[in-house]
């Protein structure tokens, strides 16, 4: 067993883990962050996407021991004071989910995408989400939701 300390959604967690434990299993089974889901288990689908030191990663493709000393943000850490993150609200408003399974990963990757490119074209949104699969094939409204967040934050910027 290896002792690790990881900051998860702002809370410092210290645990003894087996080195072979995947970050996604650590988050779900040890820390209790079940908002992050296991989808394909082959690092294709992106459902398990979280932020590691502010950058999106597939948490089924990272060992928990590799996160030792680092900061993880999951879908459960996005909302502040009970208020949805703008990307969560936009997914809700634009009906950007059907079965909902890909949603935690989609939202985490969409947040990362807008951080790197605050004003993406539709094609840039689609390419930015290339590592996230929606099994309902409901991509249209997902792209719409991301575009809506980009548009509202750019109008906020121009009105300042």
């Amino acid at each position: 067993m290896t002792r690790i300390t990881v900051t998860v959604d702002g809370v410092s967690c210290t645990d003894e883990v087996e080195p072979r434990m995947l970050l996604v299993h650590y988050l779900r089974e040890v820390v209790g962050k079940v908002g992050t889901v296991v989808g394909c288990d082959t690092s294709n689908c992106g459902a398990c996407t979280v932020h590691l030191d502010g950058r999106s990663v597939k948490s089924c493709n990272v060992l928990a021991v590799q996160a030792d000393g680092h900061e993880v943000t999951t879908i459960e850490g996005l909302a502040t004071n009970g208020e949805l993150h703008p990307m969560q609200a936009a997914f809700h408003e634009n009906h950007a989910l059907q079965c909902g399974y890909c949603t935690p990963g989609m939202i985490m990757q969409a947040v990362d995408l807008l951080k790197e490119n605050p004003n993406p074209s539709e094609e840039e949104i689609r390419v930015g989400l290339e590592g996230n699969l929606c099994r309902c094939t409901g991509y249209h409204n997902i792209v719409k939701a991301v575009a809506a967040v980009a548009a509202s934050s750019s109008s906020e910027r121009s009105s300042v």
Binding site: T42, N61, L63
Partner: protein, 282 residues
């Protein structure tokens, strides 16, 4: 899927990593970004007794200006390579190829050096590194040696990096002012190349003065299309098709569900023409 048990070692310097590897013997696996290794461990295609994680060695990250070349630390993540201004200015071909690797999440974790040592012939880093005449810095118990990219790739998943050795740095001669393009043919956007072509050219007065062309997934290793490079010298944009017709000469592409060898040979000539054309435009 969960990997088999292993002991985890996380050295914080290259020296410590080398001594850990020497002690571990031949049943240790080196972990770079893990984006190829972790799927392999999860599917239990490999079950090493020890995993040596290079992620804590800060000295292996980053891009340095070495005067006539760029020195890229082996543990530099793909996304840092793509975003780096020095890389974009002096080794544009590398940025163009690396930005097509997998998806953003993988590019945040996966590393240039890890991918080169993994040496998957369908991976996108070998062809540009070959085409740019890179030199690999390899350290081991006997000290440091340099290996030209042309001698680095030995076979499928095999490189010049031996047991107990590490790739620490990739040195790329500056190709300032060269145009470049990476033409990748895939069925699904974040998958491996069926075939891809890396091309970089120096244009003088509307025709090609120098050309470098690398091929992805046209054999057991990434390949350099030297016959095409020679044929391209003196070509203008309208005369590319003839020079690119020889792109598949001397290659030995695989046949699989995505396409048979003949199809890949055809793709190689088409993608080479497109890549060179784009590279001439900038």
């Amino acid at each position: 899927m969960i990997p088999a048990s292993f002991d985890y070692l996380a050295p914080t310097s290259v020296e410590e990593a080398l001594s850990v590897l020497a002690e571990a013997g031949d049943d240790a696996k080196v972990l770079a970004g893990g984006q190829s290794l972790l799927p392999i461990l999860r599917m239990r295609l490999n079950a090493p007794e020890k995993v040596v994680d290079l992620g804590r060695i800060e000295a292996l990250r980053g891009v340095r200006d070495g005067g006539d070349h760029l020195a890229i630390g082996a543990m530099t993540p793909y996304s840092d390579v793509v975003a780096n201004d020095l890389v974009r200015e002096h080794a544009g071909l590398l940025a163009r190829a690396v930005e097509t690797v997998a998806d953003p999440q993988i590019r945040h974790r996966g590393t240039l050096g890890g991918a080169l040592v993994h040496a998957d012939p369908a991976g996108d880093v070998g062809a540009p590194v070959l085409a740019l005449d890179a030199t690999m810095v390899v350290v081991g118990p006997g000290g440091e040696r340099t290996v030209p990219a042309t001698e680095f790739f030995h076979d499928l998943f095999e490189t010049a990096v031996g047991d107990g050795e590490l790739l620490t740095e990739i040195r790329i001669p500056k190709h300032t002012g060269w145009g470049s393009a990476y033409e990748k043919f895939v069925r699904v956007s974040h998958q491996w190349s069926i075939v891809a072509v890396a091309a970089t050219v120096r244009v003088e007065g509307g025709s090609i003065a120098e050309a470098r062309v690398g091929l992805t997934n046209m054999g057991n290793t990434p390949l350099r299309a030297t016959a095409v490079e020679q044929a391209l010298v003196g070509s203008s944009a309208s005369g590319l098709a003839d020079a690119c017709a020889a792109a598949a000469e001397g290659t030995n592409p695989p046949s699989d569900l995505n396409g048979d060898a003949d199809y890949r040979r055809h793709l190689a000539t088409v993608l080479t023409r497109r890549a060179v054309q784009k590279a001439m435009e900038g």
